[in-house]
Symmetry: C2
Subunit: 280 residues, 2 copies
Amino acid sequence: MLTEKLSAYSEMTDRKLGELLSADVIPPVLAESMAYSVFSGGKRLRPSLCMAACEFCGGTAKDALLPACAIELIHTYSLIHDDLPAMDNDDFRRGKPSNHKAFGEANAILAGDGLQSLAFAVLSECTSHDAGKYIARGAFEMVMGQSMDVSTCGGAEQLTALQDYKTAALFRAAVGAGASCARANGRQIEALLAFASAYGMLFQITDDILDFEGSAETLGKSVGKDAAAGKTTFVTVYGLDGAKTYAQNYAREAKKAIADAGGDPALFLELIDYTLKRRA
Amino acid sequence: MLTEKLSAYSEMTDRKLGELLSADVIPPVLAESMAYSVFSGGKRLRPSLCMAACEFCGGTAKDALLPACAIELIHTYSLIHDDLPAMDNDDFRRGKPSNHKAFGEANAILAGDGLQSLAFAVLSECTSHDAGKYIARGAFEMVMGQSMDVSTCGGAEQLTALQDYKTAALFRAAVGAGASCARANGRQIEALLAFASAYGMLFQITDDILDFEGSAETLGKSVGKDAAAGKTTFVTVYGLDGAKTYAQNYAREAKKAIADAGGDPALFLELIDYTLKRRA
């Protein structure tokens, strides 16, 4: 079920994003640079969570299509800015030159800025006012997490807050906005937000594990890219086995939260298991 | 009247911006870097226009305080990103080190990103849904203008569109959002938007004239900083006298628009004359 559902969500999202980015009025370089990163093979996980949350609460996937696209635009802007030389200085993203390598730094900065503005322009067409609230809060929390990350102000004691802001915040935005579009009740929204918090941590930790294993292999040494860059992750703090235990615990927490949310949890449970076992 | 009114608007804006930026939860570096640029001596022109438009249409200044602050946050983010090495590479802004000089490039990128997110978080608390629409559109148009500016794709024939997006768009956002908060009728909003389009051009052209005169003096030569940087402005295209004529014409257009808008135009008329004659 998971794969079919995610494909359907992903196709809906892609079609709408294509429409949004092809407005005649957008200057060619900006349109190209935004589209380059928006259509670079992302799995549309956040939009899918948004639409799944809407269906979970009795709405249709289409009801949540605008916030779903807005979240993907925000996620994409954050990746473009993360890759910049002054940030992570990554020349590649998903096997392609990163945005600033393809279009230059100035255009990459503007592509990111424009994607964030466009996200809120899209949201302003959404009939659920609360969807905008969840997404604006998530977008700001994400920047708070990035700020903690680059200033490496926190050691282990701030690690959970950092990862929660950096990653889980946008998952909360996704389910909160999706549930709002279904006019869900407060109890269901709370449960979905709890799911998103735990699932977001699970996702981030498995990402760090994959990054560690991948880069340890490539670099032929026992530290990953993050540790080499002085970043604090669950792997650098608790080691590989410790991180895996945390992932298991967050998976359990996410399952409990969704089981308590008063809807059909099947898709979310599958997604949790899939994430726990993912290899790329 | 103008000076008193602008001081009152400016004080209201400053107080609210202070509250918004002092939330405990914001990581210290992010809070400091955002506040550094938000409180760096800006004249709060855009928030003032927002509140003035609201009063013009029968509301109070306070009714438009949230969108007024949101616009200033967006304006500030754009200045931070404009100054970055990959963009205009300006080390100073209003006589102080620019944000990336004070906090480093990574923090400056994040301060800008965070200010944009925060703007929309603030707007999501505003009861006028349309205020968000005007501001999101203005924010996106501003990026379109910046993109045209850095890619210098247009010569003289694109100059008006470029300056309209780069500068007038946020003035339109200001009056559109302000008028929406007063639940203004469509005719009044249209007239205010027409005023903002003309006033925005007037403002940008007088800015270019000041920049030209200032830098021509400093550099001791007959080209300004913009021309030296290969930028296209009304001064580089039409010369100083030509640009002054355009400024006069836009001032006339702005006056006509506001006189047709069915409210007390006194403040706006004073502002137009003030802008036409400004020396800094």
